[in-house]
Assembly symmetry: C2
Homo-oligomer: 281 residues x 2
């Protein structure tokens, strides 16, 4: 692998949300070539059976392998929770980085034996993947997971600041105000790829005493570490190309995705592919 | 058909939203037996291809036919827009009622040559089914369709009244304030099965000069008309049984659905079936 560090990093998500992870990787590693695959024909993964998620993730990984990637980032929380070991086995010796473990590592690094509050979608909180990852790293960690579905809708609608976003964050988090200080969390983990867009109102409501951990940024840091371990960082002379692929709905992908990536792009910048040739829908 | 009016009415939706239609039918026709099928394994239909929606709708109709229904209500806006003619042909001579046409008929009845504003999901507004139905009934009708995705999230979160719901309604509808009275709509059609839950805040923001048309209530009225036409109304001596079927996630279906139905039920009240035996997801 060390022989061709110019190969791209592959980033895979069920939809546009993983573009926040892509954006964090670009900021951290601006010289890397990146290829992003949003499986928009199948979004959301969170309501699908584990067997289906495993199958979709394998298809997506294969499609990115065909682009000669040197590392795979599973930016989807559901796929990270369900399919990471299977993908690691399938792609071995290629490194595969998920979003759950890096976020959990950052939270535990901030505070051992700490109290952690995970904000995520309903399906992610039901999987308890962050609880498992946090307690594997630190058995003394106390973890709560809180479903915050409306944050997804706010992010997709582009209502990421202003009074409505703040009121929604306050409504979800007001239960913390009724707790004694000794029961409040030390960290709040943004455990959904959409939630970094709402970092502002969430942080405002939580105040300065809570560390807000963004699993997009921590995943990007984990990517940098893994590439360094494999001696596969792209030289600083490289321009850092970006390729966007979706499996359906390029217009919606471009409209929503620009905010998630933090950079405008249009439908014509997206390559549409079919990665489920044996499925009929 | 007139020989067994005690047969149930079948109501089909992609998820829990159609329970608002079921609720309206129960209020209108309390003696009817009802069987509801939520295709929760496939929700949402709005992002699926028309070919897939046609296939899912056919499977759902067949599953309800197996329960000996006397009339099918397609409570899903996407399926109504895409699959109604195909379902009518498939089930003929059984009557099939969608949600789009009854809402359009009520709006046109309220005001011929009127201005109509349709609030719906992004996928429904993209299909322009309400525009087509309104202008088929009244070529002089002026129609706008406005995607209001956050209403879906609010309804599913149970935040259907209070300052956040009102602020969201105000944000979506504030563009009307900037219009001269002569350009404001005569009717606002709630073109998503979730939106009747937000009738309160939407009506508050619109004020008294706009007629809010709820496509659940208008669909229920259409069902009553069709049963009367077919001489298939259940006698008033019947108790009005209710059967709930889902294709996945009974716990979530019960938790969300109780608010949509306006009556508490639990997971154990739901029959889980598999209506896509040839699909692998």
């Amino acid at each position: 692998m060390a022989t061709s560090p110019e190969r791209p990093i592959g980033v895979f998500d069920s939809g546009v949300g993983g573009l926040t992870v892509l954006s964090a990787i670009r900021q951290r590693l601006p010289h890397e070539a990146l290829v992003y695959l949003g499986d928009t024909a199948r979004v959301p993964y969170g309501t699908k059976s584990p067997a289906s998620v495993l199958r979709y993730a394998a298809h997506a990984a294969d499609a990115l392998l065909a682009r000669d990637i040197k590392l795979l980032v599973v930016a989807c929380n559901t796929a990270s929770a369900v399919a990471l070991p299977a993908l690691q086995a399938r792609l071995d010796p290629l490194p595969v980085v998920g979003v759950v473990t890096p976020g959990a590592m950052a939270a535990v690094a901030f505070r051992r034996g700490g109290r952690h509050l995970v904000l995520a979608t309903e399906s992610t909180t039901r999987q308890r993947a962050y609880t498992a990852a946090l307690q594997a790293l630190d058995p003394a960690a106390e973890v709560e997971e809180l479903p915050c579905s409306l944050f997804v809708a706010l992010a997709e609608e582009g209502w990421t600041e202003g009074p409505i976003a703040t009121a929604v964050a306050r409504e979800y988090l007001s239960f913390l105000d009724r707790r004694p200080a000794a029961r409040r969390p030390h960290t709040v983990i943004l455990g959904c790829t959409h939630f970094p867009l709402l970092h502002g109102p969430i942080s405002t409501v939580l105040g300065k005493d809570v560390a807000v951990i963004d699993s997009a940024t921590t995943a990007a840091a984990a990517v940098a570490v893994r590439l360094r371990e494999h001696d596969a960082l792209t030289p600083a002379s490289c321009p850092g190309a970006l390729q966007l692929i979706a499996t359906d709905g390029a217009a919606r992908f471009a409209r929503l995705g620009s905010a998630f990536l933090g950079e405008a792009f249009t439908e014509t910048d997206i390559e549409l592919i079919d990665i489920h040739p044996t499925d009929r829908d």
